[in-house]
Symmetry: C2
Subunit: 135 residues, 2 copies
Amino acid sequence: MQFYQQQLKEKGLKTTYQRLKILDYLDTHRTHPSVEIIYEDIKSENPSFSKTTIYNTIETLKAHGLISTLTITGSEVRCDYKTDMHHHFYCRSCNRIFDVDLEQPLQPGSGLQGYAIDEMHSYFIGTCPACLKKK
Amino acid sequence: MQFYQQQLKEKGLKTTYQRLKILDYLDTHRTHPSVEIIYEDIKSENPSFSKTTIYNTIETLKAHGLISTLTITGSEVRCDYKTDMHHHFYCRSCNRIFDVDLEQPLQPGSGLQGYAIDEMHSYFIGTCPACLKKK
DNA sequence: TATAAATTTGTATTTATTACAATCTAATCC
DNA sequence: GGATTAGATTGTAATAAATACAAATTTATA
């Protein structure tokens, strides 16, 4: 928790129990959880936690580069503690998102001159190995 | 319209006025429109067009590979007549999506062995040249 | 032209997200 | 340390996108 506190301070953000809790949750749950999942999990220990706080905090933490978000499922935002560029695979069957490694990671090229880039995303959609086996 | 009809036939889909109209709309509006935009535009000429039909048709056409969809704005699905792999830039300021060219297009690598891939997406989020100029 | 299967339509519902005002809390100053 | 204040949290209400569903309509085939 010491580290999260330092991160918040560096960004000029107030230290709050909720922010620390959400950072800790995302750090220890690298499963690209939705707001709903985060909410259910945290609420079970801490019933006063509000879902709005999760939306607010996600937005704040993201705006300051402490976390990132994915919109690849098409139905809800998924959160990621990692902020470095990496690739994802979304399995439509089990609804999970996997980190995947590629030989040639995406790079902005000359085709993007003149654009100010805030985020880069690359991902695949399909069926994961585990779900393929089941069929 | 002849061509769209042929495309539908090849995929074993019934020819309907609505499907032809939506295909034609997307072909002539390469602006990655949302369902809402498509609906408003088509409805103005054709008041009986239903929004549900657009959702249904988008899903059907996509399932048969005649169009593709993007979830990069995080708030609504955007449609694309093009189905070949290409890259996008989403401008948060004007809400437009641009096609962009990269030197190194994304390729599934060995890190994806065992996965069945249906879709590949790469995109950037930020501010487009026109919006940068305004500021 | 009659028929069956598929499609369209409109409405109702669900689900994710945002707006907002009241309450509460963390950081700062004395 | 205690008061102050800006900022954060909470809960509820509202919005917006997408889905479910059943009735009406249309397409393709015989």
